[in-house]
């Protein structure tokens, strides 16, 4: 039986695992981790282990289909690709002629690899409104880094001696890091974990700061106070390379450790211990999550406060600290430069109308890649201002991603034309006018860059299931129907990959010759302390403790701590005494993915609400009791999962479930004013037993 090489792209681009696929008579029989792959070294996570049921899931979309009659009527008719794409093209051109190209939104959920090409399609069509799920994921931390340092770097794990992990559980989010992290721990590298939960990572840390959700900024400022008080900061660096240090000192002088303790719920001795451990162990690295620190109303500033730590302690852009490596393709640092920017942008922003969200979240829009802000979409649909929106072309759209998901769905349904491309017939698909079936990584060609300086260009190991197609081919073909084939290499995917990879002198032909992948030859070398040559790429050329950009925009220049709108400290005699934290990662799911895969789904079958036994007993709730989880916006029926790993007073509900959907409980405009990120993790609720 032949073993064919491919990789799994179920989760995020920092992981993805090399796969040995056994194929018999054109059918995938078994998958295993690829031993020679530097990312996963023969291992896989639980999601990858379930690949067979993922590829052959019962609810795979098999054919392009058009919904005749009303949306949601389930009156679906199978049509050919040619017909589907002709309908889409003629509708889009009609809408463009009547309302302008900007009235069409092009959206990308998961996976991510085709994104530059989708943005190219949007811009080629004339719409600035290419939007992604990054509007609630990694983009806020990215912009926070840009405003503070001009760029930011991941923790340089192999060389660090102390890892401060701020609210991430890499064992469940980036499983390829698991081995190296555990090895570091065995070598004696100190682990500090900041997490409102005793996660499987926190449980292995030397020090766990279990803070009240959303108070990350107060905790970081508390640690900074200790660093300054005890002179544990890098005075040379601060003097030469920072802007606003004096303002920071003034602020922390007014905010003693007792304040940080009161805000965060973490004992001040522990804050001191963490600051000392991080400040005195050299080098020390900071690991943050893509989004958990920024899913708060003060999240952007909280994250900025956290990001001050590496700079202040002299750990920025040094070996074993937070090392800035150039991003080469789709958020990864493979060392092989690409033409990603060139492919993404066929027009400059000046040639295009303003993007959705530019009016409301100008900083995010200006300093992230030129995307539209997904969170602003429903509001512009409703208001029609500054211009009306008419069509939504989704790739992996799930309306439940939005806070107040019902509000977003309702907005979506008021548009004239809705299309979604997906692997599965999700409940979002049921509301579309047209659905297009996509193929999994096993059935398509995909180019992948790994941080471990590794590249793969795969060929399909099985034929696409039924009539499904690679997302990239769908984009190319859609472009052809829109008369944009000259922008899309006349349909030749390999020519596109050649152009993408030209700066590192790879061709599709060459990459295909090593199906198991290849180490990048002569990877880009990034030195250390790059700021010493040309300063930081910020307005002042320094690390901006006080951000010039924020000050000019009328926000606090200093990353000060503010309580969220729904603060659990507020004095009003609320009926919602508990803090609700949503969206923590579970190992067997990634967001809404894998819930349709039985081997994963059965591992956490019920919609479980994690709550502390002390909160449960106060409410006469026993293990596995059904309960109502209620916020001012509504309530859902869930099952109590009593666990001491969560703080008393805080309950945790997983997101991504079709039913019950916790995002129904959140107001659609509960957004961070700077980043536009939803306060998914600083909500208030009540839990009561179902009678």
């Amino acid at each position: 039986m032949p073993i064919l090489k491919t990789f799994c792209s179920i989760c995020n681009p920092h992981s993805h695992c090399g796969i040995n696929a056994r194929v018999e008579n054109g059918r995938l029989i078994e998958v295993e981790g690829m031993l020679e792959h530097p990312a996963n070294e023969g291992t896989l996570c639980v999601k990858g282990a379930a690949s067979l049921q993922y590829v052959y899931a019962k609810n795979r979309l098999k054919y392009p289909m058009i919904q005749r009659g009303e949306r949601g009527s389930k009156n679906w008719e199978r049509i050919s690709w040619e017909e589907a794409l002709s309908v889409i093209a003629s509708r889009l051109i009609e809408i463009r002629d009547q309302y302008g190209p900007e009235s069409v939104i092009f959206f990308a959920g998961y996976p991510k690899w085709f994104r530059p090409f989708l943005q190219r399609l949007a811009h080629g069509f004339g719409s600035p409104n290419y939007a992604t799920e990054s509007s609630v994921c990694s983009s806020s931390p990215t912009v926070a880094g840009k405003l503070t340092y001009g760029y930011f770097g991941r923790p340089d794990l192999p060389k660090t001696r102390c890892l401060l992990n701020w609210s991430s559980n890499p064992f469940y989010t980036n499983s390829t890091l698991t081995r190296s992290l555990l090895d570091l721990r065995e070598k004696g590298v100190k682990f500090i974990s900041v997490d409102p939960r005793l996660s499987s990572f926190a449980e292995k840390a030397d020090l766990h700061l279990q803070l009240r959700p959303g108070t990350d900024g107060a905790l970081a400022l508390g640690m900074i106070r200790v660093l300054i008080e005890e002179k544990l900061y890098d005075r040379d660096f601060v003097e030469k390379w920072t802007l606003g240090f004096d303002e920071l000192v003034d602020y922390i002088e007014e905010h003693p450790l007792e304040w940080a303790e009161k805000m965060t719920g973490v004992q001040k001795e522990k804050i001191r211990e963490a600051a000392r451990l991080y400040g005195m162990t050299k080098p020390a690295a900071l690991m943050t999550s893509a989004s958990s620190t920024t899913h708060h109303l003060n999240g952007f500033q909280n994250h900025r406060a956290i990001l001050l730590l590496p700079g202040l302690t002299g750990n920025f852009d040094i070996p074993g600290g937070n090392w800035v490596e150039p991003i080469t393709y789709l958020y990864t640092t493979s060392g092989a430069p690409t033409n990603e920017e060139k492919i993404r942008l066929v027009k400059t922003l000046k040639e295009l109308p303003p993007r959705i969200g530019e009016d409301r979240f100008p900083i995010w829009c200006r300093y992230y890649t030129p995307e539209a802000h997904s969170m602003a979409i429903p509001f512009q649909i409703k208001s029609g201002k500054p211009y009306p929106l008419k069509a939504f072309i989704g790739f992996g759209l799930n309306y439940r991603m939005w806070p107040g998901s019902d509000f977003f769905k309702e907005s979506l349904l008021s548009l004239d034309f809705l299309v979604n491309t997906d692997l599965f017939f999700t409940d979002t698909c049921q509301w579309m006018d047209l659905v297009l079936p996509a193929a999994t990584s096993f059935e398509r060609t995909e180019l992948k860059h790994w941080n471990s300086k590794y590249l793969m260009l795969t060929s399909p190991v099985i034929n696409p299931v039924e009539k499904s197609r690679s997302d990239l081919e769908i984009i190319f073909d859609m472009a052809r129907h829109l008369g944009l084939e000259n922008l899309f290499w006349n349909g030749n995917v390999d020519a596109a990959i050649d152009e993408l990879m030209a700066p590192s002198n790879y061709t599709a032909e060459e990459l295909r010759k090593c199906p198991e992948g290849t180490y990048v030859r002569n990877p880009l070398k990034s030195g250390y302390k790059k700021y010493e040559k040309s300063g930081f790429p910020t307005p002042s050329g320094k690390m901006e403790i006080t951000s010039t950009i924020l000050r000019e925009a009328g926000f606090d220049a200093l990353p000060i701590y503010r309580e969220p709108r729904h603060s659990s400290l507020s004095k009003d005699p609320s009926n919602y005494p508990l803090i609700l934290n949503t969206g923590s990662r579970l190992p067997m799911f990634i967001h809404s993915e894998m819930h349709n895969v039985p081997w994963c789904e059965e591992l956490r079958k019920d919609p479980l609400l994690d709550m502390n036994p002390s909160d449960a007993s106060e409410r006469d709730i026993g293990p596995d009791d059904w309960v109502w989880l209620e916020t001012p916006r509504g309530k859902i029926r869930v099952k109590a999962n009593l666990t001491e790993t969560v703080l008393p007073g805080v309950v945790h509900m997983a997101h991504g479930l079709q039913e019950p959907d916790v995002n129904l409980l959140i107001e659609p405009d509960y957004l961070d004013p700077i980043s536009g990120f939803p306060g998914f993790k600083s909500l208030r609720c009540q839990v009561t037993k179902v009678d």
């Binding site: 996570c45 990858g48 469940y172 499983s175 499987s200 081997w599 666990t643 790993t645």
Partner: protein, 171 residues
């Protein structure tokens, strides 16, 4: 030489990869049986909480209670490597084995016959580790002969689990 497992408690993260690898390799349908399970055990109360992540399957005991009570001798122990196996042709589904197993290992699927971890015999024949071991992203789970395992375990101050059935399991 007796074969068995070693679970490095300092590394297991309750990620469930082993559970699904087992199901996928043995083509076990969902909502039927588990040949391997992951248990996350908690002790204490906030703020002094301890958590243990446990990945468990048949422990291929040296003195398997299940074999002793099996009325039809369907359960047997291989001479060459001490693996405890079950011959479905002889199993009558009486569940005596389940009653005596200290770890609740025996599983009964739709055909009513006992089934459980067989150490991935098919992989063993090809010199491969069981599927749960190969997949483990934490490298927390190990398989091998008791001698090899005891060396590995000693480095982490882990030891063989002591029960009357003498499980081939280090923890």
């Amino acid at each position: 030489m007796q074969k068995g497992f070693y679970l490095d408690l300092t590394r297991c993260t309750s990620c469930y990869a082993c559970v699904v690898a087992c199901k996928a390799h043995h083509a076990i349908q969902e909502e039927t049986v588990y040949w391997r399970r992951v248990l996350t055990l908690e002790g204490g109360a906030y703020p002094n909480v301890r958590v243990a992540n446990l990945s468990l399957s048949c422990l291929h005991c040296a003195i398997p209670a299940c074999r002793v009570v099996c009325p039809t001798k369907a359960i047997y122990k291989r001479r060459e490597d001490g693996l405890v196996l079950v011959d479905p042709n002889f199993c009558i589904g009486c569940k005596m084995c389940l009653m005596v197993c200290p770890f609740g290992v025996p599983q009964f699927g739709r055909n009513g016959k006992m089934q459980k971890c067989n150490f991935c015999l098919d992989r063993l024949e090809n010199g491969l580790n069981p599927a749960c071991i190969s997949i483990c992203p934490a490298r927390a789970l190990h398989a091998g002969s008791i001698d090899e395992l005891s060396l590995l375990a000693a480095r982490k101050s882990a030891r063989q689990l002591i029960r009357s059935t003498d499980p081939s399991f280090f923890i």
